[in-house]
């Protein structure tokens, strides 16, 4: 079994118009910029994008929005140091927004990966974000019922990967990446280095290969934060 794919372009080649796409990362940390930019080159339309944020500057998810790929964002925090791409699209009515509390977002994604179609959380009870959702009382406390959140594709960034799809991450770059890997029909991981099966200690694997469909090596990935500080624009 060999899940490696030669290039980011080849890895994202089959993502169709209208796809629901999870994209890992929290800000620039753990953001799969090379996969995102390869997707922009392909330019599918009407995507629903799931990420904690809604892009920053003019690269990554912000560039996806500017290039007109994104019909809807599902995120917890559509602000950033330079949120102009999302803000303009939103105010012009070109993009739909679903705001989800960050922990609920993470848990909805994990629930999809774990086969849990719905769960209860105290988060958002009594707030506008709970409107229309079933509420139930357990042991005298109120909870809101939330549904799983699945995707057609997940684009994630890992650190080391092997051909079986086993992955490690790098520091806080882990964030949403391992749960998104579980929740998509097809999970595509960019890794800084592909190693041989067995080279990652079985104790240290964070995402077992069962959750990963494709691994593409990007040896020196750019860091979104650096690009933004340089004022970079894609393409």
């Amino acid at each position: 079994m060999d899940k490696t794919i030669a290039t980011p372009a080849a890895a994202v080649a089959d993502i169709p118009d209208g796809a629901v796409v999870m994209i890992g990362g929290f800000g620039g940390s753990g953001a799969p910029i090379e996969l995102i930019h390869a997707l922009i080159d392909r330019a599918p339309k009407n995507l629903t994008v799931i990420n904690n944020n809604a892009g920053n500057g003019h690269v990554g998810i912000a560039a996806m929005i500017e290039q007109g790929l994104v019909a809807k964002m599902i995120c917890s925090f559509p602000r950033s140091s330079d949120p102009v791409a999302f803000t303009e699209a939103y105010k012009a009515g070109r993009i739909e927004l679903e705001v989800v509390p960050q922990g609920t977002l993470a848990e909805r994604i994990r629930a999809a990966g774990a086969g849990i179609p719905a769960f209860y959380t105290a988060t958002s009870y009594g707030t506008d974000l709970a409107e229309g959702k079933p509420v139930e009382e357990f042991d005298g406390k109120h909870y809101v019922r939330e549904r799983w959140l699945r995707a057609d594709v997940a684009l994630i960034k890992a650190h080391h990967g092997d051909p079986m799809g086993n992955l490690t991450y790098r520091m806080a770059g882990r964030n949403f990446n391992p749960v998104m890997a579980m929740a998509a029909d097809r999970t595509i991981a960019q890794v800084s280095r592909i190693v041989a099966p067995g080279d990652i200690d079985p104790e240290h694997i964070v995402s077992p290969g069962i959750f990963v469909d494709a691994v593409v090596e990007v040896p020196n990935p750019v860091q979104e934060e650096i690009l933004i500080r340089e004022g970079a624009t894609y393409p």
Partner: protein, 227 residues
Amino acid sequence: MSSLDDIKLTNAQIAWRAAQDIEDGAYVNLGIGFPEMVAQYTVEGRTPIFHTENGVLGFGPAPAPGDEDWDLINAGKKAITLKPGAAFFHHADSFAMVRGGHLDVAILGAFQVAQNGDLANWSTGKGAIPAVGGAMDLVQSAKRVAVVTDHVTKTGEPKLVDSCTMPLTGVQCVTRVYTSLAVVDIAEGHFVLREKLPAISFDELQDLTGAELKTEGPVADLTVPET
């Protein structure tokens, strides 16, 4: 009373006061911005462990400029460092810590805090793009939820109110408010004044507060160092 601006605490001083209540070994989440300052005033001899939503427990202050590693950031997307014994984990595990009640203290900012503990801090409700982050998770589940805030808005309106008029972040969740003028607890649906600046009278403070300030026993002087 002198001008409010002359007597009121700086944010740093409010943060200092909040830090005095953080116990040794407590697991603490500090909101983005002003609440983050609380970490700078950790009491000598105590080692709270700081949690950030994006998957780090046990982080330390910002690195020296130029030493940033942008894979190592906090929820405010600022570069951080690690202390010995730090751990990384994914987002679902991070919010398992939050939602599961494992955090001892969460300290957040506020637009409004109501006397029943309701908190509004995520949306002005005025057509701005909504952005909630992890606040709704934190306020419903940390063992103790505290707020650091100016006592009044920039235009002088009370931020401690009868009931919130802005969209809620959480219901009946805040138990203590550290303001620029006072320390106020929330107990059984009421504000209870614990400490106030010596330079302001009780009546003056009540006038700046949007609901009744009750007292239980003596009100202590709120005294903080120059910062």
